[in-house]
């Protein structure tokens, strides 16, 4: 049993729960089977590959070091209001959470049909989730490698998987099978044969939507994240395991860290703030090019070489981050002496 492993990314994504009180849609923080599989089947399910695309079984999760930081930095809220066309007025506002600049991993069960569909290498672009008409949902998959099914271990499920599939004789499940899962922890055929789940110790149940036609579908009993299972590692949230470096949004923090690490601030510590203020003001008003020119000129003056050199170095670091606006850059320059204390 092998799986294709993909790196997943998206700038704006709405993987939502159902609307609450008709007004609020919270976002979920994993990539459920239904969403990713549905999206890939829609992408590859043209008439040529319609049957083959039904063999796509995928799931995934987002990468983050700290769940709370992920929620803070990558979940935003959008307020929008549908318009009543006849009166041309806004109807009650709707709040939807969305995921912003997220990265993750997606695993796709390998089989001959899927291999054929995914014969292209490189990036796969597709659309997933809600409000696609408003620009949400563009996703990218980059094929990384084929991973064999690793030994099962016990852990918390990190995705959402249906217990069975509709209209697929191989993966149907009757009441008995479901009861066995609940009472004895025995996984259904779908969970075992497709994703290699050996045992379900504690089930966290929910429902995932499976379309049965263009306009209809059913909610299928599913295992949600937080269930304790014995399964291959990629399905699990392993506590303490570092998934990736902080995808911090705080660009200023990155600039400051880099300055602290690479710049010899001591050389300007003894000097007055006047020079720093001047450089900061020039940067804000005239931009980096004029500032560079100013500093090069200062470099040629006796007693100013070291300071100017240091500030040129700082300027180089700031320029590496184009999202830093001039006002922020001015503040950083003016506060260089204090940066070391932070």
């Amino acid at each position: 049993m092998n799986f294709f492993k993909f790196d997943f990314s998206s700038e704006l994504l709405i993987l939502g729960e159902r609307f609450k009180k008709g007004q609020y849609r919270p976002v979920i923080t994993t990539i459920p089977y239904s969403q990713i599989t549905g999206a890939l089947q829609a992408k590859f399910g043209n008439s040529k590959n319609a049957d083959k695309s039904k063999q796509i079984h995928a799931c995934g999760h987002f990468l983050y070091k700290d769940e709370d930081e992920f929620k803070e930095n990558h979940i935003k809220t959008l307020t929008y209001s549908p318009r009543n066309r006849s009166t041309d007025t806004s109807i009650i506002p709707i709040y939807t959470e969305y995921l912003h600049r997220v990265k993750g991993e997606v695993y796709l069960k390998e089989n001959e049909d899927v291999k054929e569909i995914l014969s292209q290498k490189g990036e796969i672009s597709f659309w997933m989730g809600g409000l696609k008409s408003k620009g949400f949902g563009e996703c990218k998959l980059i094929n990384k490698e084929i991973v064999p099914r690793a030994d099962s271990r016990e852990g918390e499920l990190n995705t959402r998987l249906p217990l069975f599939k509709l209209n697929d004789a191989n993966f149907e499940a009757g009441k008995e099978e479901i009861e066995k899962l609940v009472e004895e922890g025995k996984p259904t055929r779908f969970l075992h044969d497709v994703f290699g789940i050996e045992r379900v110790k504690t089930a966290n149940f929910g429902y995932l939507f499976e379309p049965t036609s263009e306009t209809d579908g059913k909610y299928v009993l599913s295992l949600f994240e937080g269930s304790i299972v014995e399964a291959p590692g990629f399905l699990l949230k392993i506590k303490g395991e570092k998934k990736m470096e902080d995808q911090t949004e705080d660009v200023a923090a990155k600039v400051i860290e880099e300055i602290k690490k690479n710049v010899n601030i001591e050389s300007i510590k003894q000097r007055s703030n006047k020079f720093l203020n001047t450089v900061g003001d020039i940067f804000e008003k005239e931009g980096p090019t004029m500032t560079r020119a100013f500093l090069k000129e200062k470099k040629s003056r006796r007693g100013m070489e070291q300071q100017a050199e240091t500030l040129l170095h700082v300027l180089g670091i700031i320029e590496k981050y184009p999202s830093i606006d001039r006002k922020t850059a001015r503040f950083i320059i003016k506060s260089l002496i204090s940066i070391k204390e932070v």
């Binding site: 609450k20 009180k21 939507f209 923090a253 204090s338």
Partner: protein, 721 residues
């Protein structure tokens, strides 16, 4: 009035009597060798309760007394598997004949550790006479003189200090020197202010007690009776430190519960091989054997080490998408079910969302949790099946113990602990046709949809019933929602983590015991067998204080904010309407003050009791607040929705409240604005020379408290008048 049935709660009533004052010849609490006629000129009672009081430490052929004894063991504060001579060994300093000899080190340790005689290891002990031991070095001396008539020994030190010690003879007739008896006070592990017992010390009071026993009043009445209530609360179940950690009140109450739990299960006693058996009450028993001579001492141990029992930890959850005020009716349903649960004999401990319970091994949990499941809750369960003696205090602790030691208490054989965890749900349909309920998302939506305020919601039968349950469950909240839509509310949740409580109390108990258990061999023996494990009674003792703490907290919040601004939901969950976010400081101060009063010893470590506050506009979706309460990150957690969060320990909270000087609003605004773009940049501002003085308090605190917390607190206090 109960007709001649054994009232288990009264079994230790004798511990409320100060026999030293009434009649020093009488020892113990079982009225042994007590002639009532001679002392108080009345006949002693003849009912079963009196029998239970007298015989629950003795051999008896009575099944009820056997059950009482069993319940007494299980309900003790700490393990009764401690060595029998533990009390003697705690107080014993040395054996007279072993000096000089094998007890030299023990005496030396006593002199150094407890009397500050640091030079005690410079010299050797000598016996100058049969009754005198001397230790001397360079002009300094200690001598111990024994007086067998007064049964006292006097310890003299060269600097003029003297101490009185006790002389006791052990079973082997050896002379032992003991520390003077310690005060018989009741000590709570989380609050080191000891409570001194108030015992009955006159013959008239003794007469009153005997007359009371004759009346066969119920256990509940006994515990609530004005005559006994306070005394029960201030008297320890076991007077000897470090066993004095449970009150007689808690112990008696728990014995009552356990007695009534065991009683229907023990329908027969099989005397074969002196083994006693639990029988399921479903089995029909034919008791023929009239000749029963039981060695009850051994048989209690047999019961504890051979009988299996199921211990359950349960957490009550509900699908957390309450959108409307009416959806909060679910808390009213929860309250009602919890009230019923508290009366169950097998439920030992409970909070607003967790409980600990016993079940016979052959019984499933379904009946116990059915009322909750039917109302739409789901129950997370941790279950351990183990021997009766091991079934304490929580399934998780039992599992941990097994992993640590892998041995049973007597070290003879492994015990088999079965540990499992699962969630009990209402029946889940494998397939649901659209629409699915928007609130619980676990059931099909029913017709017609719920239409309100122009919004259409699809909800299931169960969630609809909750919405329609009662108009007035949260009337204040409804008012604010409808008529004061711009008002701010603070949701306040206090949470007690039972599993963490058990761990923390165990640590506290070890520290407390170390003060009294000086005997190194005894300490090693206790540690090796992991006998520091606390029993339920300590947890239930804590719960009493916790419940009082909650009552006090609610009262003080009511006083501070006025009744019309409070919406109580549960005893540990309220909503407060606030004018300004700076009023949160008042809530924090009240909490801190009460916590320090009730649980001072918990302040120095991660607390099992946490406070979470979530603040927003009154119309903000409730379930978002509830999500903030799910996993408290620290002792104190405050979430200003959309503006920031703070999570900190109680010790740091005090520093924050009392030491933090809020910068002027202009600077505060500047700091807040910059922090929205970059927290790091905000930190730089705080250290910047330009505003160095302004942000001094921020700088000082940022060494101890994380910057985000300080900023959020600054935002909270930003609108202070």
């Amino acid at each position: 009035m109960v007709e001649d049935e054994l009232i288990p709660e009264l079994h230790d009533i004798g511990k409320l009597i100060d026999w030293e004052t009434i009649n020093p010849d009488i020892k113990g609490h079982n009225f042994e060798n007590v002639n009532m006629n001679n002392i108080i000129h009345i006949q002693e009672p003849s009912n079963k309760t009196w029998k239970g009081i007298k015989l629950h430490h003795k051999k008896s052929g009575d099944i009820d007394i056997f059950i009482l004894k069993l319940a007494d063991h299980i309900a003790s504060g700490i393990s009764r598997a401690l060595p029998e001579d533990v009390k003697d060994r705690i107080n014993r300093i040395f054996k007279w004949d072993k000096i000089p000899g094998t007890d030299d080190d023990k005496l030396r340790r006593f002199l150094i550790d407890e009397l500050n005689i640091s030079w005690a290891d410079e010299s050797s002990f000598i016996k100058s006479s049969e009754n005198k031991i001397i230790l001397s070095s360079k002009g300094k001396f200690v001598d111990i003189t024994r007086d067998d008539i007064t049964k006292k020994a006097i310890l003299r030190i060269h600097d003029g200090r003297t101490y009185e010690l006790s002389i006791l003879k052990n079973k082997e007739d050896e002379i032992e020197i003991h520390r003077q008896k310690i005060d018989k006070s009741f000590q709570k592990l989380w609050n080191e202010r000891p409570k001194n017992s108030e015992l009955f010390s006159t013959k008239d009071q003794l007469k009153e007690i005997i007359e009371y026993i004759k009346k066969d009043n119920s256990g509940e009445l006994f515990l609530a009776n004005d005559l006994f209530h306070k005394k029960l609360l201030s008297t320890p179940e076991d007077q000897m430190p470090p066993m004095n950690i449970t009150s007689l009140y808690t112990h008696s109450k728990l014995v009552g519960k356990l007695y009534y739990f065991f009683k229907p299960l023990v329908t027969d006693i099989n005397c074969e091989n002196n083994l006693l058996q639990f029988r399921s009450s479903d089995e029909s028993i034919n008791v023929q054997n009239a000749e029963r001579k039981w060695d009850l001492g051994r048989n209690i141990k047999n019961a504890e080490t051979n009988w299996d029992i199921k211990l359950l930890y349960c957490k009550i959850n509900f699908p957390d998408y309450q959108a409307r005020v009416r959806d909060l009716n679910i808390f009213e349903l929860l309250k009602k079910e919890l009230e019923k649960l508290s009366k169950a004999k097998n439920v030992i401990l409970q909070t607003s969302d967790q409980f600990l319970a016993f079940l016979p091994v052959d019984k499933k949990i379904d009946d116990l949790v059915k009322p909750f499941i039917e109302k739409g809750f789901n129950i997370y369960v941790e279950e351990a099946i183990t021997k009766l003696q091991e079934a304490t205090p929580t399934p998780r602790a039992i599992k941990q113990r097994k992993m640590n030691t892998g041995l049973s208490i007597d070290g003879n054989s492994n015990f088999d602990v079965q540990f499992s965890c699962y969630t009990k749900y209402k029946y889940m349909e494998p397939l649901i046709d659209p629409h699915i309920c928007e609130i619980c998302q676990l059931a099909p939506a029913s017709e017609p949809p719920w239409i309100d305020e122009g919004l259409v919601e699809n909800i299931c039968v169960s969630c609809r019933k909750i919405r329609e349950y009662d108009e007035s469950v949260a009337p204040q909240l409804k008012d604010w929602y409808q008529s004061e839509q711009l008002s701010k509310v603070a949701w306040i949740k206090i949470y007690l983590d039972i599993n963490l409580l058990s761990d923390i109390l165990k640590k506290l108990y070890k520290s407390y015991s170390d003060k009294y258990i000086k005997d190194i061999d005894l300490k090693a023996e206790i540690e090796q067998k992991d006998l520091y494990e606390l029993h339920f009674s300590v947890l239930t003792e804590f719960q009493q204080d916790y419940d009082d703490f909650l009552i006090d907290f609610n009262k003080k919040i009511e006083y501070k904010f006025k009744l019309e601004n409070i919406q109580p939901i549960l005893n540990d969950f309220i909503c407060v309407k606030i004018e300004r976010t700076s009023q949160i400081k008042d809530i924090l101060e009240i909490y801190n003050q009460l916590f320090t009063n009730y649980f001072p010893q918990l302040k120095d470590q991660k607390s099992p009791v946490t406070l979470s506050i979530s603040v927003s506009n009154v119309k903000f979706a409730f379930f978002r607040h509830w999500k903030n309460f799910e996993n408290p990150k620290n002792d104190v957690n405050v979430n200003l929705i959309g503006r920031g969060e703070m999570h900190l320990s109680l010790n740091l909270l005090e520093k924050l409240i009392h030491e933090f000087k809020i910068p002027a609003s202009k600077q505060l605004h500047k700091l807040a604005k910059i922090s929205e773009a970059s927290e790091k940049l905000a930190k730089v501002l705080v250290y910047d020379r330009g505003d160095y003085r302004v942000y001094e308090s921020v700088r000082v605190l940022s060494n101890k408290i994380d910057f985000k917390t300080i900023l959020t607190y600054a935002k909270i206090m930003g609108d202070e008048e």
